[in-house]
């Protein structure tokens, strides 16, 4: 079995490498081949003729396409994604900082979504086709139907502006960031502040992250409810559920101890699927809450026509996403030997 797993991992890693090469090829085509004027975009707003000519030379747009691709890929392998027009930093370092903030937001959102989603999914399945089930399904459908940026705005309007319960945006209160600064170690504020025992910054970050995470949680929440509900309904029809019932086990124990365990693996898949959605959802969510992640970075880049920054973000996030998928698959194979067959 271990041998099978090893072979599977090798095969899966090889596949991921091919896919990453494909991702690089596609972004190359987007940025170098399709019409639109990459050189003008590269320079930024209001370019002069000399600037465009210079950009063409830096980008190698005057050379034949295969040569361009070679330059593109060697730069990429050296971690050179160009320099942002707006911030004048190397794009890679900008993106690395933003990625940590975005991931922190996504992880908190997923924790919220999964906890609430499992509870409501089980509840819905246990009362199938009755009022609580209809309620659960409607809530789930609303969750997946919400445009994340709009939900973010509504939450901000109600809980920050009208009720004053949460801050309007940002990651830390300015005074806190001055008096109790968080030294970036992992880039995750919540972890870094805990490492240093900086509880004031920790709670302040939690207070700031709650609303944006809530807005982002809607989609994975809805998906979890649907997956858990469907799986639970299937499991609850199995013979072992019947046996457990016949033995007189309390239904709460059957639901949470036996049935839920069998529904969890498909939920992991659902979450893997919604991770991609959360990544781009976070982009839009961050803009509203001024969360200093990749979304805010990309939005400002789009406004400033900062083309290197846009393409750099896209390629880093895509490669990151392929890697996450790879890890999820391997993890799943580790849990369930049938996958490697």
């Amino acid at each position: 079995m271990v041998k099978g797993l090893g072979q599977y991992v090798v095969r899966r890693v090889a596949h991921a490498i091919v896919v990453i090469l494909g991702v690089i090829l596609i972004t190359f085509i987007v940025s170098h081949v399709i019409p639109g004027n990459p050189a003008a975009l590269w320079v930024g707003a209001h370019p002069t003729a000399q600037q465009i000519q210079a950009a063409k030379e830096t980008l190698g747009l005057d050379k034949p396409l295969p040569v361009q691709f070679y330059i593109y890929i060697t730069n990429l392998l050296r971690g050179d994604l160009g320099v942002s027009i707006r911030t004048h930093n190397p794009v890679l370092s900008d993106v690395a900082v933003g990625l940590a903030a975005t991931l922190e937001l996504i992880i908190v959102a997923f924790i919220m979504a999964v906890t609430a989603g499992i509870l409501l999914g089980v509840y819905s399945a246990a009362h199938r086709d009755r009022v609580p089930d209809h309620f659960g399904r409607v809530v789930a459908i609303f969750g997946v139907s919400m445009a994340p940026f709009w939900l973010a705005m509504i939450l901000q309007l109600v809980f920050s502006q009208a009720l004053g319960l949460f801050p309007l945006g940002g990651r830390l209160t300015t005074s806190v960031s001055i008096i109790y600064p968080v030294r970036p170690i992992t880039g995750f504020n919540l972890i870094d502040s805990l490492i240093e025992g900086n509880f004031i910054a920790f709670t302040d970050t939690l207070w700031h992250i709650f609303l944006p995470a809530l807005a982002l949680a809607a989609y994975p929440f809805g998906l979890t409810v649907r997956m858990i509900r469907t799986m639970m309904i299937e499991v609850l029809q199995e013979n072992y559920t019947r046996s457990a019932l016949a033995w007189g086990l309390p239904s709460r124990m059957i639901l949470f101890k036996y049935a839920l365990r069998n529904a969890v693996s498909s939920t992991v898949i659902a979450l893997g699927m919604s991770f991609a959605y959360a990544l781009t959802g976070a982009f839009l969510d961050e803009i509203i809450f001024v969360w200093p992640g990749l979304g805010t970075y990309t939005a400002l880049s789009i406004l400033a026509l900062d083309y290197p920054a846009i393409m750099g973000t896209v390629i880093v996030v895509a490669i990151f996403y392929v890697t996450i998928n790879l890890l999820v698959d391997i993890f799943q194979a580790f849990l369930d030997p049938r996958v490697t067959l």
Partner: protein, 301 residues
């Protein structure tokens, strides 16, 4: 001709029976009916838009600077925007844009992805492998991200946003059609057609493609909802519709500057998106549940 008589008849009957079962299950499920009603209402609004909107000229962009940022009232049901335009009228006009763009995205993605998947599944071997590897590469991007890159390169416009979304959407249908084609290519009626000498292109067109249609249509129903959100998201980023288009996503984008003081501005376009997408999801969900045999058994607890 012989082959057609032998297979098409029962197959068509089978398909009609499936549709009848789906319809019956849907009528029994009040949620799916609600979804259908929502969609029908929005389609009617899209068709009759110019006759329904109280301020059609403002909906098309004409400013009315005497009535800027007014809260909802009987005259302006959803309030007015920063140029004094009636938001209700603009949302009505936006219905057409939203439905048309999302339908264009989904239909084009199917037109592109379905034949590719059917060909890949039917021929298998090298051609199929090449097509599917390319598909995998496109699927490796988080959906909106590739669209963002393409739209940013092409420049912000509604047409470019639609093109960008088609580029990211087709591989999903290729994969779906591929698995269907794999399952059908060795069925008796396809082998029979091959045995009497029907050419491969004809088999793909006459037998493989129709077999992939049903699952793709179900997926398309669900995808229309996601496409509406995707189009709105690109507009929200400034990569889609440009002012003064009464596009829902663009309205929310401009509204974000004003909505903390003027709550109605972004709220109503967002509600329009939410309602329509809920409609598609309710319908799609019900269809999916109706055809999933695993879910049709009795419950124990």
């Amino acid at each position: 001709m012989i082959e057609q008589q032998a297979t098409a008849g029962p197959l068509r009957q089978q398909r009609f029976r499936d549709i009848r079962i789906i319809l019956r299950l849907m009528v029994r499920n009040p949620l799916s009916l609600a979804g259908l009603v929502i969609i029908v209402i929005f389609v009617l609004v899209a068709i009759a838009g110019p006759y329904l909107a109280p301020f059609p000229r403002e909906a098309e962009g004409a400013p009315d600077l005497m009535h800027q940022l007014l809260p909802p009232s009987f005259q302006y049901l959803f309030g007015t925007d920063e140029l004094g335009r009636d938001i209700f009228s603009r949302i009505i006009f936006g219905t057409r844009i939203s439905l048309a763009t999302s339908a264009a995205v989904v239909a084009s993605a199917i037109a592109l992805g379905m034949p590719l998947g059917a060909v890949a599944g039917y021929y298998g071997e090298r051609l199929g492998a090449i097509i599917m590897r390319i598909t995998d590469m496109f699927l490796a991007f988080p959906p909106l991200l590739l669209a963002l890159a393409v739209a940013a390169t092409l420049g912000g416009s509604m047409l470019n946003a639609v093109l960008a979304l088609i580029v990211t959407w087709w591989p999903w249908y290729t994969r779906l059609a591929y698995s269907q084609a794999l399952a059908t290519r060795n069925l008796p009626y396809v082998e029979a057609a091959r045995a009497i000498g029907v050419g491969d292109p004809v088999i793909v067109a006459r037998h493989i493609l129709p077999a992939t249609l049903a699952p793709i249509l179900i997926q398309a129903t669900l995808d229309l909802g996601s496409a509406i959100i995707a189009v709105a998201s690109l507009s929200f980023l400034g990569l889609g519709a440009q002012p003064p288009t009464p596009d829902w996503g663009l309205m929310i984008n401009t509204g974000k500057t004003y909505f903390l003081q003027h709550w109605w501005y972004a709220t109503f376009p967002g509600l329009a998106i939410l309602t329509l997408v809920v409609g598609f999801n309710l319908l799609g969900d019900a269809i999916r549940e109706a055809i999933d045999p695993k879910l049709s058994r009795r419950r124990l607890i």
